[in-house]
């Protein structure tokens, strides 16, 4: 039962976009089309899952023994950046159509706060291996879930005639705010 509560809180209560404010740049940027949103979501899940494993290992066997925990940010950023570079090369060479669909999002991931945020929460709450996997899985699915639903809503909103000072990003932010209020009422 313990795992399940962590998973559901990461999914809805502690949703990384709506309550923890991570990854809003990509959330606003890539959620105007449904295809972009899905592409972004899958890439983020893909990158986060693998890098949680890497960062957990690094943290457990390199950083804590040499108690240089303040170097955490530097190491993790490097891990993510070079990992994104690796995935870019792999997807370009082997599964080319996946690369075509995910191509524009891979460099964007490095500047995505969500990826780094999840890893940092895992490390700060010093979860053991399985719980950190479960937590990052829950938050990634929460990320994909919110960004997909939001992209459907934004496609619908863009057709309305909103006054032109609120068109585009401000109306998206206000709708995201209302969604956040609803999410906070669920738990």
């Amino acid at each position: 039962m313990e795992m399940f509560t962590i998973f559901t809180t990461a999914l809805i209560a502690e949703n990384i976009i709506l309550t923890k404010f991570l990854g809003i740049c990509s959330f606003i940027g890539s959620s105007n089309k449904e295809k972009n949103a899905l592409g972004m979501g899958i890439t983020v899940t893909f990158v986060v899952l693998i890098s949680t494993i890497f960062t957990y290992l690094i943290n457990k066997y390199i950083l804590i023994p040499t108690n240089s925990t303040y170097l955490q940010t530097l190491f993790f950023i490097l891990v993510i950046a070079c990992f994104v570079q690796i995935t870019e090369l792999i997807t370009k060479k082997y599964f080319n159509n996946l690369y075509k669909s995910l191509g524009i999002y891979l460099p964007l991931i490095t500047t995505n706060c969500a990826v780094f945020g999840i890893i940092l929460t895992n490390i700060n709450m010093n979860y053991d291996f399985i719980t950190s996997i479960i937590n990052s899985l829950g938050s990634c699915i929460g990320f994909v879930f919110v960004i997909y639903v939001f992209s459907l809503i934004r496609e619908k909103i863009d057709k309305n005639n909103i006054i032109n000072s609120l068109k585009g990003v401000p109306i998206a932010l206000i709708t995201a705010g209302i969604m956040a209020l609803i999410f906070s009422r669920i738990i």
């Binding site: 010093n126 459907l152 809503i153 909103i162 006054i163 109306i171 609803i182 906070s184």
Partner: protein, 474 residues
């Protein structure tokens, strides 16, 4: 000879949006009258409340209608800069009376008036106008008002009981009462506190302004479906799913048929299903989309009622499902194009229902044994002393050997505490021995600040061992 050109067929049905809205109002009027009867006239006669206080619900309804009209007028005048004539024309076409009335019917009886003004203002501006006026909003405007009120002034809303009920009925609304009994209980615990199920049906139970007699709501539903003003599929499947899930739950926890009926008749379920969920603008347009929407609403309401602290799951689940309307339409469209796909979605629905009912049953039955997260690895008997080797859940895992002599714990030594990060404070005021002294009422010993998990771990060890001692003696 010149003619004007206009498009579309030139013979049109007599039905029009304003007619539909007036029919909706006609369906609402009996409910308003009965709630006024229940909340003002009875209150005025039976309690010593002054006339002004007892007329409070009527002011609530009138005020929320006026504010929604005024806020629309302001929005048109100042933001969109229409002239007065255009404002009046636009106002007549945007029927802002419906969200106003619905909002006031949803709020508890004793909400202060300025909260209503705040709620209606936000309901109209943020619910409808910034999305482009009538017919283009994503969320149900009345529920947006409810959301803003409960997010900002939830403490001020006040209890659901009106003045008359305050002094006659002790308990809170049936649902909060159910939640306090952790969702299980016999017929008389849950229902008979408010008279029989008939009272629920007639409506003499405490609740918000609109949760009056379910009979009137059902009549309104029949009237609206005959005159084809609302999407009748949504309420049918919504209430149906709630009935199915609660019936399955009542089967497993052997509580009889009255349990699902109690769930349907209590809280704002019927009112929300007939008036809120079927608001044409914020519900799916395709047939199967409506069915899917209704079923997901039911699943969500039941899970909210059982899992979260909020007794009232209906309003939040309708708001939550308003976000999925484009998704339901997409599903409805794919089913409309080829019917074979409908089996995938039926499968998803069946999985949803069975999962929620499994978790609910699991949650209810799990509560009965109230397991303490401690497991005894092995027990050794030495003379009259018994030595327990125990592992309990602190921050990580605490292992300890505890020696007990004729029902009294005499010593605990912690063998493994690698998982505990802040163990030092516990050692400082040697928490283990202190726990032994307090072993009779262990809960009165408060945890050490900064390491609550570890101290709870130790307290659980004591509880578990005392409990197992009791079982051995029995």
């Amino acid at each position: 000879m010149k003619f004007k050109v206009s498009n579309g067929p030139f013979v049109k049905s007599s039905n029009s949006t304003s007619k539909m809205m007036t029919r909706l109002l006609i369906a609402l009027i009996p409910i308003i009258c009965l709630s006024i009867l229940k909340n003002t006239i009875i209150v005025y006669f039976y309690t010593d409340a002054t006339l002004l206080e007892s007329l409070h619900p009527i002011f609530m309804i009138i005020l929320s209608i006026i504010t929604s009209y005024v806020s629309e007028l302001l929005y048109f005048k100042f933001i969109l800069k229409y002239k007065i004539a255009d404002c009046i024309h636009e106002l007549s076409k945007s029927f802002s009376i419906i969200p106003g009335v619905l909002l006031s019917l949803v709020l508890p009886v004793s909400t202060p008036l300025w909260v209503i003004v705040f709620g209606a203002f936000f309901a109209n501006i943020f619910g409808k106008m910034i999305y482009g006026g009538f017919g283009q909003n994503i969320f149900n405007p009345a529920l947006i008002g409810y959301l803003f009120i409960s997010a900002s002034y939830s403490s001020l809303i006040g209890s659901h009981l009106n003045l008359y009920e305050l002094d006659t009925l002790a308990g809170a609304t049936p649902l909060t009462n159910l939640a306090s009994l952790n969702y299980v209980g016999s017929y008389d615990e849950i229902v008979s506190g408010y008279g029989s199920l008939l009272n629920f049906f007639v409506g003499s139970i405490p609740g918000s302004l609109g949760e009056v007699s379910k009979m009137l709501i059902i009549f309104a539903f029949v009237y609206l479906t005959i005159t084809k003003t609302i999407k009748y599929l949504i309420p049918i499947f919504y209430v149906g799913t709630v009935f199915v899930i609660t019936y399955v739950v009542s089967l497993f926890t052997d509580m009889g048929i009255w349990y699902p009926i109690f769930h349907i008749l209590s809280g704002g379920l019927l009112f929300g299903a007939v008036f809120m969920a079927t608001d044409p603008v914020t519900s799916p347009i395709t047939k199967f989309g409506q069915i899917f929407h209704g079923i997901c609403l039911g699943v969500l309401t039941v899970s909210l009622r059982f899992f979260t602290s909020y007794p009232e799951g209906v309003m939040t689940s309708i708001l939550f499902m308003n976000m999925f309307v484009p998704l339901c339409d997409k599903i409805g469209l794919s089913v409309k194009n080829n019917l074979k796909k409908v089996w995938i979605y039926i499968l998803v629905i069946v999985i949803f229902i069975s999962m929620t009912s499994y978790f609910i049953i699991n949650k209810i039955s799990y509560k009965e044994e109230n397991k303490i997260p401690v497991n005894i690895l092995e027990t050794k008997k030495e003379g009259d002393k018994t030595i327990y080797n125990v592992s309990s859940k602190g921050w990580g895992l605490i292992k300890a050997t505890v020696t007990v002599e004729n029902g009294e714990i005499i010593s605990i030594d912690i063998t493994d505490k690698s998982g505990e990060t802040q163990w030092s404070e516990l050692e400082k005021n040697d928490y283990a021995n202190k726990a032994i002294e307090y072993q009779d009422n262990i809960d009165s010993l408060d945890a050490v600040s900064g390491s609550t998990f570890s101290s709870d771990g130790i307290k659980n060890i004591i509880k578990k061992i005392l409990e197992s001692e009791l079982n051995n003696e029995k």
